[in-house]
């Protein structure tokens, strides 16, 4: 059902729930705004978006007013211009006239609108307040420049869900303040600030916006591969050959979000001066002897395809344990769901009204999962149930019901979900599975109460768009295969749209493109991974490789999209395609392979240069293409669930701090989290260690020593154990029992 009306003489139609402003933007009709941020609910404080409606006296706010059938709306008239001009005059009261040094100058909303509405002088003034500039980590706040549009608090509450920023009220004295302990340093507030009030501490005063060249690309740190712009300029006056560096990262902040790693973790490029021919010859020799290539999922689709071709031609084994478990999980999932890919994506999560999350460290595995859930909670009042053994303080605004369970009981809990949501006629075909379910036993062993599950199930009633988000805890679970099948059942018959969040940047692409092996044969070539001969984009290895901000290619994202990656900085050394060329695979550029990606896996024959990467006026993103979901035969039966294993004693959970993903984020100068074991004080007591102590332990057969720190944000008896500081990625279950030995 649509509503028909006219704006500026043009007949347009609106969907239910759309505001006049949204329709105008969709139709390309300009209405000026100052406080409106499309990705949050309108806060209607600026009154710039006023329009005239025929038959209505006074002006109407277009940002929060839905149109009525047959209305005649005018967006521009002398009276409206005067009104908006007066608003701009008030915005300019005491605004410092320091555009000359302000970082925002050139892309400032206030500057633009002041010029647009011909405010050439400050006609009002008020007594200036004494205010203090603040610095909150990556974020600096200048209250003198602040126009109190409240965009920053809106994103912090509604998009990030951390409620760190708030308004300290006081009329003209009011300013923004920060509950710093809640701040996750994502920089969303910086990106939406229309003036220079919220600024990046690192970028401040280093470059003028008009000197920076924007290179649209994809973030290389997690499977969301968010759209971003690398902004580059020469390093300095004396850099000689005009060598460039990335000064900052921006994004289309009106419509899209970016986490701290994307925004601040950009300088992980590998600078090499020239092609090292001797190293190349040595590596080539190693390739001729090698039997296995081990690689990480920090790789483009094209290079993954190149490795697959090398395997087909030279019989290498391809080892990527983390992508291998994901691949197996996805295959087991589709063996029941009947479709090669899962049905949901993060956009659906953001639009959902009911979400169950299992096996996912929501804030740090893929920050966009957290952002999507926060948007679902704030925009659709979604009910979010999180199954996780660790309770995280920072998620309390996002998670409606935390179902804290024992480590290792994921399979049984998934079975309970199946029992609750799969219709009874389907249950008949899986009789042995459903009949063997002992709810009392499961609830007892997993320590999730029956009434908790009942509450979760009850909330599902009358919800229109339920989603199920599964995370990396499950892929390496000892019972991963069965969990995946149950998830497949839930997608096929349970009414859920499932998202299986890939554990690393291009895990999805690797899992689809490469034929991965389980066992390695030495000698091993490591490509950004351990090996006898290592090619690395971090430098200091046998042969340097370009980092992901120096490469062209594509990623396959959690949203099942193939998105383009552009090179922000040049690379002067050898690339994987040079090695492939020397090994008999003739190609000029690695992006020539974009159109050759396997169609039988859902890829399309689209050339790299034809991949779109843009937004429409009303925020619809047109970027790359969607993978084609393919039908696969489904025959497999779901196994009877295994007994729940007990995990007692000191348990470590493999999980990185927010914004730290791997050695590349670790290399960047703005992300400085150190690799320490983080646990609650309860954990410290049980493990008999104190904060700040160094401990030695063996995990996944690897001896290591780390510092332990108590975090007040954590609860429970499981501690976080990061793995971002090593190439060696374990594909074992993320929870491991360890014995601490004090150093």
């Amino acid at each position: 059902m649509s509503i028909h009306f006219t704006i500026d003489g043009r007949s347009v139609s609106a969907k239910r729930g759309e505001s006049i402003l949204q329709v105008a933007r969709r139709e390309g009709i300009y209405i000026p705004t100052m406080c409106y941020l499309p990705k949050t609910t309108p806060n209607a404080s600026c009154r710039m978006c006023v329009v005239e409606v025929e038959g209505v006296s006074g002006f109407v706010l277009s940002c929060n007013t839905p149109p009525v059938e047959g209305a005649t709306i005018r967006t521009d008239s002398t009276a409206l211009f005067k009104e908006r001009q007066n608003i701009m005059k008030l915005y300019n009261v005491n605004h410092p006239l320091q555009c000359g040094v302000c970082d925002k100058s050139g892309e400032c909303d206030l500057q633009n609108k002041t010029l647009e509405f011909e405010v050439s002088e400050q006609s009002f003034a008020t007594k200036e307040q004494k205010r203090k500039n603040k610095k909150w980590g990556v974020l600096s706040y200048d209250p003198y420049l602040c126009i109190m549009c409240e965009k920053c608090t809106a994103v912090c509450n509604q998009v990030v869900g951390s409620e760190a920023l708030y308004i300290k009220p006081g009329g003209y004295k009011s300013e923004i303040d920060n509950h710093y302990s809640r701040c996750i340093q994502c920089g969303e507030c910086i990106s939406v600030c229309p003036v220079g009030a919220m600024a990046s501490t690192d970028f401040e005063y280093t470059a003028n916006v008009w000197e920076l060249r924007k290179i649209p690309s994809a973030c290389a740190h997690c499977s969301s591969a968010c759209n971003l712009n690398y902004e580059v300029k020469e390093i300095g006056i004396d850099s000689g050959k005009g060598e460039q560096k990335i000064y900052r990262v921006t994004n289309e902040a009106d419509h899209d979000a970016l986490c701290g790693a994307g925004r601040f973790g950009y300088d992980f490029e590998n600078r090499v001066s020239c092609k090292d021919e001797r190293a190349f010859a040595k590596v080539l020799k190693a390739f001729k002897e090698a039997k296995t290539i081990r690689f990480s999922s920090m790789i483009t689709n094209e290079e993954a395809y190149l490795l697959q071709q090398l395997k087909e031609r030279h019989g290498y084994r391809l080892i990527n344990p983390e992508a291998r478990v994901y691949q197996k999980f996805l295959r087991a999932f589709s063996s029941v769901s009947g479709v090669s890919l899962y049905g949901g994506d993060l956009k659906r999560v953001a639009q959902s009204d009911y979400a169950i999350v299992m096996g996912c460290a929501v804030s740090s595995d893929n920050p966009m999962v957290r952002f999507a859930l926060a948007r679902a909670v704030n925009n659709n009042k979604a009910y979010v149930g999180l199954f996780h053994p660790i309770e995280e303080e920072g998620l309390r605004n996002i998670v409606t019901q935390h179902l804290k369970h024992e480590v290792g009981s994921e399979e049984a809990l998934m079975a309970l979900l199946c029992d609750a949501f799969v219709p009874s006629e389907v249950k008949k075909s899986h009789v042995s599975f459903f009949e063997s379910l002992d709810v009392g036993y499961i609830c007892g062993e997993s320590s999730v109460g029956e009434e908790e599950i009942e509450r979760l199930v009850r909330q599902r009633v009358r919800k229109k768009a339920p989603v199920l988000v599964l995370g990396a805890d499950l892929y390496a679970h000892p019972r991963a295969d069965n969990i995946a099948k149950m998830a497949g059942l839930l997608e096929r018959f349970g009414g859920f749209e499932v998202v299986i969040v890939p554990s690393d940047t291009n895990t999805m692409g690797v899992a689809l493109i490469c034929d991965l092996d389980d066992e390695a044969l030495s000698p091993v070539i490591g490509y950004n991974a351990q090996g006898d001969c290592v090619l690395s984009a971090l430098g200091g290895s046998d042969l340097d490789m370009p980092a992901l901000n120096q490469q062209e290619g594509t990623f396959t994202t959690v949203d099942k999209e193939v998105v383009p990656l552009n090179a922000a900085l040049p690379y002067h050394g050898y690339e994987l395609s040079d090695i492939a060329n020397a090994l008999g695979i003739v190609l000029k550029h690695v992006i020539d392979l974009t159109c050759k990606l396997p169609k039988e896996k859902g890829y399309k024959e689209v050339a790299f240069d034809d991949l779109p990467n843009r937004y429409l006026n009303h925020g619809v993103q047109i970027r790359g293409y969607m993978l084609e979901p393919l039908h696969v035969s489904c025959e497999e039966n779901i196994g009877v669930i295994a007994d729940i294993q007990e995990y007692n004693g000191t348990i470590l959970y493999r999980c990185n701090p927010i914004s730290q993903f791997n050695l590349f984020t670790d290399k960047t100068h703005q992300i400085n989290d150190r690799a320490v074991i983080l646990g609650s004080s309860q954990f410290a007591e049980a493990a008999k260690i104190k904060s700040g102590e160094e401990v030695r332990f063996v995990i996944d057969g690897r001896a290591m020593s780390r510092k332990f720190q108590v975090s007040s944000k954590l609860k429970g008896t499981v501690a976080y154990h990061p793995d971002f500081d090593s190439f060696e990625k374990s594909a074992a279950y993320r929870y491991q029992k360890v014995t601490f030995e004090r150093v």
């Binding site: 003034a125 005063y205 470059a207």
Partner: protein, 215 residues
């Protein structure tokens, strides 16, 4: 033949058309017609040779030599003042009294420069202000157009009057330290204010508007 009459006629017509290049004091010079016949040409040559005009010229030189008030500028010892709008190599001004550099690092000169010869690097200084960490002008590219001085909102970069530059390369003419007014000169008030393009006009004070109710 005097031509006052014709001038009047002409002048009237021209002034009606508004030709500002013709003043009412202009008159036509009495020039004898050119000889056309061979005899005429010969007699003109003879006249010019024998009238001794050569000695007239010699006499003027001799007379001026002994008068001792010569109009020639004795260049290296004596220098003419250059006009305020003369655009020689750049100078960087300081604030009077405090001696702080005027340049705020806004980057407008860099942006406006049509020969792309200005580059600057800025950063946040200890006092949380924008500070210029590096500033160069590639004088090899500079065409001395004066846009940088004109656009500068702080009257920091200006064109100096120094036109005596001798070097193998224009890059040697001056560097940033040389452009900058010495600090003692700025504090003692010896720094000369720039009057060229972009400078404050004399009646600027009167044009400044106060914000009503300004505290």
């Amino acid at each position: 033949m005097h031509t006052h009459d014709t001038h009047e006629q002409h002048g009237h017509g021209e002034s009606e058309l508004g030709n500002r290049y013709i003043s009412e004091h202009y008159y036509y010079v009495d020039i004898a017609p050119y000889p056309t016949t061979p005899w005429g040409k010969f007699s003109r040559a003879l006249k010019r040779t024998l009238r001794g005009e050569l000695f007239v010229g010699l006499w003027v030189v001799l007379r001026e030599m002994f008068k001792f008030d010569i109009h020639t500028v004795q260049y290296p010892k004596e220098k003419l003042l250059v006009g305020p709008r003369y655009r020689a190599v750049h100078a960087m001004q300081r604030l009077f009294e405090s001696g702080t550099e005027r340049c705020i690092g806004c980057g407008l000169c860099e942006k406006i420069c049509i020969s792309n010869c200005i580059r600057m690097e800025t950063r946040l200084d200890e006092k949380s202000r924008k500070e210029v960490s590096e500033y160069t002008i590639n004088l090899g590219r500079c065409i001395f157009c004066g846009y940088c001085a004109e656009v500068c909102p702080e009257l920091a970069i200006v064109h100096g009057p120094r036109y005596e530059n001798v070097s193998e390369q224009r890059a040697h003419y001056i560097d940033y330290a040389g452009m900058l007014t010495p600090i003692d000169m700025a504090i003692s008030g010896e720094q000369k204010e720039f009057d060229g393009f972009g400078a404050v006009t004399p009646h600027e004070d009167a044009r400044v508007k106060q914000t009503p109710l300004a505290y």
